[in-house]
Symmetry: C2
Subunit: 266 residues, 2 copies
Amino acid sequence: MRRVMLTVAYDGTAYRGWQIQAGQETIEGVLNRCIGELTGETVEVIGASRTDSGVHAMGNLAVFDTQSLIPAEKFSYALNQRLPEDIRIQNSEEVAVDFHPRHCSSRKTYEYRIYNAPFALPVKRLYSYFTYVPLDVERMRQGAAFLVGEHDFKSFCSVDTQAQTTVRQVDSVEVWEENIFGVADVAKDAVPGREIRRPGREIVIRVAGRGFLYNMVRIIAGTLMEVGRGKLPPECVKDILAACDRQAAGPTAPACGLTLIGYEFL
Amino acid sequence: MRRVMLTVAYDGTAYRGWQIQAGQETIEGVLNRCIGELTGETVEVIGASRTDSGVHAMGNLAVFDTQSLIPAEKFSYALNQRLPEDIRIQNSEEVAVDFHPRHCSSRKTYEYRIYNAPFALPVKRLYSYFTYVPLDVERMRQGAAFLVGEHDFKSFCSVDTQAQTTVRQVDSVEVWEENIFGVADVAKDAVPGREIRRPGREIVIRVAGRGFLYNMVRIIAGTLMEVGRGKLPPECVKDILAACDRQAAGPTAPACGLTLIGYEFL
């Protein structure tokens, strides 16, 4: 028996999240089915991160055990032939038979994307949350700085968590903006002399840490958006942490803006 | 009677292109229907660019005439309430009653995106063409340089064109790559000591010019990919231009990678 680890990328739009559920299309369900069809075995993958409905991934991880003679590094090619085009294996390799992707020391990176402009942009709609409310990136950055380090993140955790402790270590929170070429430039020059419109831009919140609570990154994003729009002062993030109360933080930002970027093992 | 100009962004995935066709969902058809429902008039928009099936846009332009009392700049808000989410008006404004978006001097910018990595990335699949064949960006840039200026682009035009002349002016062709964070970094560190994989990256070809022939940007992209993979030397682009023969150039690259960025009026 060998254990194979897959690096799994997916567009979460069409799925009810990672975790297998009867009668629902999930990433885990599709993987079990496709690996099973390939090897002829009954397969139950173990995922590193059980992403929510609508959340995307570039590098989630899954392991499974097999007696198949297919070389571990060939599973990526063989599975990509069978998987729907919104799921693609990025890498496959053999790991130790006792390797468990949730029981080992790792750093996980997420990105939350916000398309911030007067009007939504169709080509961004599936992978960014849209808001027309102007956001101040510098304020968001100031607020984000309070989150770095080891803290009790109880305020940034959905109340229905089963976690034993709500203390987590966040290694970094970066916030930056990317200009979307086109929208602004076009409108500005469309008819000479007309009002110059605010450019379309995407704001990216990239969070890296050793494990996250349920909905933690989406609550961080929802809170930093409240800071960015001026509803909360940046220093308030410190008070929200201290409150240890979900009600103190901002709303849970929508799933479509969130992408699990990947894992590093430490 | 007033003439209103719309800046129109769309995800072309679900449409049979811009131009109205009986029994097919097209951007033009949806605009005519939604504007008509809003104003109660029979509307026929005039588009600046009749993009092909599957091509995207951030800033296509359309004008229409109306006797409605809705202020021109309010059409963007009112139409976005009615349009499907894969079409969004970015700007609306009144223009001269004789303004025609195809009969005036303008510069148009397109981007062609190529996701170049060992495996496709689901979150890129709708807006980038995927190829696992490694492309050399520096070679593509060298080849692209021969296209700048006024040339007979007959070799870069689909044979079924109705254009009177195939001479066009290309103002710039830029080629660059954008690293997609995550895929490479993850795989590299997934299990220490394992092979370092080539990073996922997106190659962007941005072309600006005064009008384009049918399929011209997609044939430019297809040809530069042949140069990038080493099948054609960069200097060959000069010979392809001189040949004035569609057979001399590379294939027409798939529609999904192409986005009309926008217009500037000169």
